[in-house]
Symmetry: C2
Subunit: 761 residues, 2 copies
C-alpha cells in the first residue's frame, strides 16, 4: 500500500519539475580544491564511478546480511564481518579485521509485572508478522533490553515522567510528585534514550521503563507495519543507555583502545554505566501500567495516544522490574580496508558505517553499509582499471555501534596519534531510506557537500538531491518563524548554500570529530515517516524493500554522495575546505549564545516578578494542584567580548585565506609541491586546533569546543558547548572559563589559517 502512492508522487514530481532544479548537464560543475583544468577529469571519474554502482548488488548484500540477528557476539555479525573481509579483498582492497574486547552485558533474565492494583505480566515479545519472513526467525536474538542498564530486582510504585527530560522533572515538582524510591516510566522521544534512566536515577528512582507511545511512532503517526510505517502494538525499541554524552566506546576503557591487554576500569568505576535497572516496552505492554496510574493528570503536552486520560501517579500502579545480565567481555570486529594514495599515501580520507544491529538491522545500519560496500566495489574496479586516488582511502565497517559506538571509538582511541598525523576527513553513514538528503558535519566542508549534492540526481525526479533538500529546508525554516529562520529561508531561496547540521552524536562520527578533531561528515536520506520499526525485529529486509527504499535507488544515491565526497577529498589539489563557511557559522553561534544568555536574563527577571507577585497561584484553576515553577538564580551580565573578538578575527582571516586559496587554484603555476604540502598540512590539522586540552566540563573525553552532543539532549548537537551548556545550567564561572577556552581555540584555528595564507604567497 505504501509504495504505490510513493511512486505516484514521484511521477507527479517529475512532471512538475522546474528548470532551475534540474541538473545543469552542460555547465562544468564547480569543484572546490581543484584547479580548473582538473575538473573535467574528476567529473569523468565520478561518471565512471557512478556507472559501476549496482542497486542489485546492494539488495543482495542487504538480504544476506540481514538474514539473522547481528548484535555483538551473534555468530552472524561475525560472519558478516568475514563476508565483507572476503569481498573487500576480492575487490582489490588491503583489508583486515581489527578486534577489540569490550564490556557487553547480555540479559539472562528480564521481567516486568504490574503487581497492583490489577496484575499484568508484560509479554516483552514481538510476534511474527505475516509477510515479514525474518520476524518468525528470531532464534538467537537477545531478549529486548537496554544495554548497560544495571542489574536489579525492584518493586515500587510507578510514576509517569513523560519523555523523562529535565523540564519534565520541573513539571513533576510543580505537582508535588517525586520519583524517589519509585519506578519511572518514560516514553521514547525528545532526547537520547540513555538520559531517561540517568535522570530518573539522579532524581532517586530505583528503576525505569521506556516505552514507545503510539502517538509518537505508532498509530498516531502512521498505520502499523505492514500496512504502513507505524510501530505495531507489541513492537519495542531496544537500545543503549550508556551515558554516551560523557564518553562513547567501551565503558571500561575510556580514552584508550580496548585491545586485549589494555588496562581496564572496574565496572563500578565506569562512569558511563547506568546505576538502575531499565527495560524497553511496547505500548501494548505499557497500557495496563499507565492506565492504572492515578494522581494528578499529566499536563496536556504529556498526553500520548492511548485511549484514556494519562495520570502521573505515583501509584497505585505498582511494578516489579527485574534485569539480570551476563557481564562478559566480548569481541567486536571492525573490518578496515585501505586503497593507498598515489601522491599522498600518508593523508587518509576515511569512510565508515557500522554493521552490527539490534536484531536484523536491514535499515539500521545495513542500508548504509551496503551503499558503502557498493562504493568500495566501484573504487576497486576503478583501481583495477589503473586509477589510484592521490590520497589514501580508508573504508571501515564498524562493529558494536549500537551499544555505544564501540568499534569506531576503540579504533580511534587505538590509532589516535596516527589519525592526528594523517586523517584528512571522516565520512559517515548509517541507516538510509528514500526521500531527502540529510547532511551534517564540520562547516569547513559545507561548500564541498553543496557542490557534491548539486551533482547527484535524485532518484525520484530529475532534480538534484541538493534541490530537494534545499526545498525542504526552505519550508522547514518558514515553519520555524523566528527571525533567524526567515533569514535562512530567504538565503536558501536566493540560492545560498544548504547549511550543514552541526553534529551531536548517535553514530560513529563522534570519536573522529569530537574526540580526535577529524573534520567529519554524516550523510543519509530519509523521509519524515515515523520509523516505527526502529530497533525492533521488524527492521527487516522485507520491511526495507516494502516501506523504505524498494529498489535501493536511494542506496545508489547515498553511494554517489558519499563516494563523490571521498573522491574529491582524495584527489583535490588543495584540501576542499572553505573556511569562511566555518567562520560565519561560528559567528552565528556566538550571536545565538549571547542572545540566549540575554533572553535567559530577562526571562529570569520576569519570572522572579511573577513569583513575587504570586501570579501562578492566582491564575491556577481546575482540579489539579499545580504550584509555581521553582525559583532560579539571577543571570548576571556575561562577558562575551573574547568570543566576539576571536570570531571577528577568524572571519577576517578566513576571508583572506579563501581569497588566497582561490587565487592559487586559478594560477596553477603557483601550486608548487612545497606550497601545496605546507597549505594542505596546515588545513588538515586546523580542525584539531578546536580541541580543548581538558575537553568539556565534566567530560574530558569530548574535546571539540565547537560541536558536542548535548549533556541533556544526547544525540542533539550543542554548539559552543562549553559556553552554551554552562549558561543553560547557570554555571556562571564555568561559562566565563569556557568563553576564554573557546575563544583560544578559535584563535588557534585562525592562526592556522594565517599560516596557510602565508604559505600560499
Amino acid at each position: 500500500m505504501t509504495s504505490l502512492p510513493r511512486r505516484l508522487s514521484i511521477l507527479l514530481l517529475a512532471a512538475w519539475l522546474p528548470a532551475w532544479a534540474a541538473l545543469a548537464a552542460d555547465a562544468p560543475p564547480p569543484m572546490i580544491g581543484f584547479a580548473a583544468q582538473g575538473v573535467g577529469a574528476e567529473a569523468a571519474l565520478e561518471g565512471r564511478f557512478d556507472a559501476l554502482l549496482d542497486a542489485r548488488d546492494m539488495r543482495a548484500w542487504l538480504e544476506r546480511m540481514s538474514s539473522e540477528p547481528n548484535h555483538i557476539g551473534a555468530p552472524h555479525d561475525k560472519a558478516n564481518a568475514e563476508f565483507m573481509l572476503e569481498q573487500f579483498r576480492a575487490w582489490g582492497w588491503d583489508a583486515a579485521i581489527e578486534t577489540f574486547d569490550v564490556l557487553y552485558p547480555t540479559p539472562r533474565r528480564v521481567a516486568v509485572d504490574l503487581v497492583g492494583p490489577h496484575p499484568y505480566h508484560a509479554l516483552l515479545v514481538e510476534p511474527p508478522i505475516a509477510g515479514d519472513r525474518t520476524s518468525a526467525r528470531t532464534k538467537g536474538a537477545l531478549p529486548p533490553y537496554n544495554v548497560y542498564g544495571a542489574d536489579g530486582d525492584v518493586t515500587a510504585d510507578l510514576v509517569y515522567v513523560n519523555y523523562g527530560m529535565p523540564d519534565d522533572y520541573k513539571e513533576l515538582a510543580r505537582r508535588g510528585v517525586s520519583v524517589k524510591g519509585r519506578i519511572a516510566i518514560a516514553r521514547y522521544g525528545a532526547g537520547w534514550r540513555g538520559l531517561k534512566p540517568k535522570l530518573a536515577w539522579e532524581h532517586g528512582a530505583v528503576g525505569c521503563i521506556i516505552y514507545s507511545d503510539p502517538r509518537d511512532d505508532g498509530y498516531g503517526a502512521a498505520d502499523a507495519y505492514p500496512a504502513g510505517a507505524g510501530r505495531p502494538a507489541q513492537s519495542l525499541q531496544r537500545g543503549s543507555v550508556a551515558d554516551m554524552p560523557v564518553y562513547s566506546g567501551d565503558p571500561l576503557t575510556p580514552g584508550i583502545g580496548a585491545t586485549k591487554d589494555a588496562p581496564r576500569l572496574e565496572r563500578a568505576a565506569a562512569t558511563s554505566l547506568l546505576k538502575i535497572p531499565v527495560l524497553p516496552m511496547s505500548y501494548q505492554d505499557a497500557r495496563p501500567l499507565l492506565e492504572a496510574l492515578r494522581g494528578p493528570r499529566a499536563p496536556g503536552t504529556w498526553r500520548g495516544g492511548l485511549p484514556f486520560t494519562y495520570h502521573i501517579g505515583p501509584g497505585p500502579a505498582r511494578v516489579h522490574l527485574v534485569v539480570q545480565s551476563d557481564w562478559a567481555l566480548r569481541p567486536v570486529y571492525d573490518v578496515v580496508a585501505r586503497l593507498e594514495g598515489s601522491a599522498y599515501p600518508d593523508q587518509w580520507v576515511i569512510r565508515g558505517n557500522h554493521h552490527d544491529a539490534w536484531v536484523f538491522g536491514a535499515d539500521d545500519p545495513l542500508s548504509g553499509n551496503v551503499a558503502m560496500m557498493a562504493e568500495m566495489k566501484a573504487l576497486g574496479a576503478l583501481k583495477a582499471s589503473g586509477w589510484r586516488p592521490k590520497r589514501t582511502l580508508v573504508y571501515a565497517s564498524w562493529d558494536g555501534e549500537e551499544a555505544g559506538l564501540l568499534g569506531s571509538t576503540e579504533w580511534v582511541e587505538t590509532h589516535e596519534k596516527e589519525l592526528a598525523a594523517k586523517a584528512v576527513a571522516y565520512v559517515n553513514s548509517d541507516s538510509n531510506s528514500s526521500g531527502l538528503l540529510g547532511a551534517g558535519g564540520s562547516h569547513s566542508l559545507q561548500r564541498l557537500v553543496n557542490e557534491v549534492a548539486a551533482g547527484v540526481k535524485d532518484p525520484s525526479s530529475s532534480a538534484s538531491v541538493l534541490a530537494r533538500a534545499r526545498a525542504a529546508a526552505i519550508l522547514d525554516a518558514r515553519r520555524g518563524g523566528r527571525d533567524a529562520d526567515r533569514r535562512l529561508a530567504r538565503s536558501l531561496l536566493d540560492g545560498g548554500d544548504l547549511p550543514l547540521d552541526p553534529l551531536g552524536s548517535g553514530s560513529d562520527f563522534t570519536p573522529f570529530l569530537q574526540h580526535a578533531g577529524v573534520p567529519s561528515l554524516n550523510f543519509g536520506f530519509s523521509d519524515d515517516e515515523p520509523g516505527g520499526v526502529y530497533h525492533s525485529i521488524y527492521d527487516s529486509f522485507d520491511h526495507y524493500v516494502k516501506i523504505e527504499d524498494p529498489d535501493l535507488r536511494y542506496g545508489v544515491a547515498l553511494a554517489e554522495v558519499a563516494g563523490h565526497t571521498m573522491l574529491r577529498l582524495a584527489d583535490a589539489d588543495l584540501l576542499p575546505l572553505r573556511t569562511q563557511d566555518f567562520a560565519t557559522t561560528v559567528a552565528r553561534y556566538v550571536e545565538e549564545v549571547e542572545h540566549y544568555a540575554e533572553g535567559l536574563r530577562s526571562e529570569t527577571a520576569d519570572m522572579h516578578r511573577l513569583l513575587d507577585e504570586h501570579v501562578y497561584e492566582l491564575a491556577a484553576t481546575g482540579p489539579d494542584v499545580v504550584g509555581p515553577p521553582a525559583r532560579e538564580a539571577d543571570v548576571p551580565f556575561l562577558n562575551f567580548a573574547p568570543l566576539r573578538n576571536a570570531s571577528a578575527a577568524l572571519s577576517a582571516s578566513a576571508q583572506t585565506f579563501d581569497a588566497a586559496y582561490a587565487a592559487a587554484l586559478a594560477d596553477p603555476a603557483r601550486l608548487t609541491p612545497a606550497r601545496v604540502g605546507a597549505v594542505n598540512e596546515t588545513l588538515r590539522r586546523a580542525e584539531q586546533s578546536l580541541l580543548g586540552a581538558d575537553g568539556l566540563p565534566g567530560r574530558p573525553w569530548y574535546r571539540h569546543l565547537i560541536y558536542a552532543p548535548g549533556l541533556y539532549t544526547g544525540y542533539g548537537a550543542k554548539t559552543l558547548p562549553g559556553v552554551r551548556e554552562a549558561i543553560e545550567e547557570r554555571h556562571w564561572a564555568e561559562a566565563a572559563d569556557y568563553t576564554i577556552r573557546t575563544a583560544a581555540a578559535l584563535d588557534a584555528y585562525r592562526r592556522a589559517l594565517d599560516a596557510a595564507t602565508v604559505a600560499l604567497r
Copy 2:
C-alpha cells in the same frame, strides 16, 4: 474526586496570597461616573446588595429548574418561565412574559448507519450514569440533533474534514479529496458548529456528521464524567446549525419581531437555514465510521484521540444519514421584569440570561440564570427597604437562546426603536462555573468592569476576582509570545487594566450590541476544564454541584460582578464610560489589520515564489501525495489612511472628553441637570453611531462596524469586521469601501464625544 484537589488548591492559594492582590478594604474604591461624595453611599449599597445574595437560594432554584428537559416547547421550559414570573413579582418587580412564535423544527426521525464495508448502526443515545439522577429521567427530551439542519435521506461515501473549517478544505484539496456528493464528518471545535455543515454544503457535500473527538473534550483532556470533566464515550453535543453569522433569531423573521402577526418568509427564502441534513454524534458512534476510512492519512494536526491512524477517505466507509423533522412554529417565553428608575425612568440598564436548555441545562444556562435571579431578589429587597435605582433596571430571562438567540433577538427587534431611545447598556451572562472571571464587551465599559472586578472577592482566596483574572491574562500573554503579547503582559504586570475581550457571538448580547448598538458586556467564571458535558444530558444538577461550582460560591461572585455593574450603570452621575479605552483599543485594531494586510502581502509574494520554483513538490516525501497549496491572488497595497486619520482624531477627542468628564465630576457644582442630561444622552447614543446603515458585507442584520462574530469563526469575534474580513477573503474593493465606512462610523462617534465635551463646558 474532582472537588477535593480543588479545595486543596484553594487552601494553598489563600496561604500564598500576596498583599498586593488582596482587597484593599480601607481605601475608598474609585468609581467611574460618580462624584466623590457619592462613592461611599454606592459602596454601602453594594455591601447591602451582597449581603442579600444567598447561595442556597441559587442551589434550590438550580435543582428545581434543571429537573426536566428545557428545550423550546418543553412543558418544563414554560413552567420555569412561569415560576420566574411569579418570583419576580413576589420580589417587587413589574414583570410579564412576552411571547414570540418562532420556527423550531424538532426531529421525527434521525438515523446514521455505516452501510459498508462493515455495517454499524449508530446508537445516538446517551445512557444513564450512576450518581447522575436526571440522566435516567430523559422522558420528554428530544432525540439528539442539530436544529435547523435540513431534512434528508442520503447515502454516500464518507470524508473526514477535521474541524471542517476553511483551511481544512485547502488541505483536502492538496490531497486531491473532495466532499462533493459525499457525507462530511467533522469534529467539534475550532469554530462555530453551524459553519461545519455550511462549508460542507458549499463544497458540495450532501450530508454532514459532527462528532466529539476524545482528544478535544473526552479522555484526551480529562477523565470521563463522573470521574472528571471529560465527555463520556456515548455523550454528544447537540446544538444549532443556523447560519447565525448572517443573522440571529427566528429564521423566518430577520430584522423584525416574530410576533403573532408578523410577516414571515417562506422557509426556502430563509437564508439562515442549512441546506443539507446534519447530525451530532458521540465518539463511540463515530469510531467505526472513522476507522473504516482509507485514502490519504489525515495531516498530523487533524489526528484525534481515537486509537488508530486517521484517514481522510473518501470511503470505503459509506454512510446512510436520515433526518426528518416537524417544522412547526412554536412559542418562546421571555420573562421581562422592570424596576423603575427614580431619576431617569426612560434610561434602561438591561440585564439578561437565557433559561432554555438543550436538555436539563444546569450549567448552560441555568447556572447564570440563578445568579441573575439572586440579583433580582436582592434588588427587590433593597426596593422594599425604600431604595430606588436612578435609572430603570430591566431584567430578562430569555427563551430559545440555544436554537439561535431567538428570545433575545425577537425582543430586541420588536423593541428596536424604544431601545434606541432608552437603552444605556446590556449586561449578559450564560453558563457559569468556578475559576476565573471572563469579561467581554464594549471597550468604553472597560474601566467600569475593572473597578467592579477589583471590588469583588474571589471565593477561593482573599484576592479580588480582578487579581486572579489579571494573573491568568499575564500567563496567557506570555505563552502567546508575539510582540503584542509581550506588551500586554508587561502592561498587566505594571497594573494596567485587564482588557475586555471583544464580543463575537454565542449568547444573547449579539442582538443588543451588534444589531441595536447597545453597549454590552458579557460575564462568566470558568476554569480551563474541557466542558465534556456541554449540550449533553449530563449537563445536570448532579454534575454541576460535583464538578462545576459545588456550593454555588461562584454563582454569588457572578451576581456580585453583574449586580455591581448594573448598580453603577443605574446610579452613576455621568454614564460610566471611559472613551479613551475604546479609542486606544480601536487604534490597536487598526494597527493589527494594517499589519495583517502587510503580512498577507509579503506572505503571498513569498508563496508565489515557492510555487513558481516548485518548492512544495521538491520537498514532498512519504507515502501520501500532497500537492502544493493553491495559488492565491496578489495582495495590493491598501489605503489605511482614512482609518488611521479617524482613529487618531478619535483618540484626541476621547482624551479631551475624558479630561472634561473627570473635571466635571471633581466639581459637582457643574453637574447641573441640563449638563448631565445632555452629556448622558450623547454618551448613551454614542455606540449607536458605530452602526453602519447597510451593515456588514452580505449580512446587513449585523450593523456594528467594530465588533462582529466572524463569518468563518462564528462565536469568535472579528474586530473592524468589514475591513478585516474583506482582506481575509481578498475582496479588495470591499476592503476599501469598508475602510471608508468604518472610518465614517468612528468619525460619528468622535463627533458625539466632541458634542459631549462642549456640553460639559
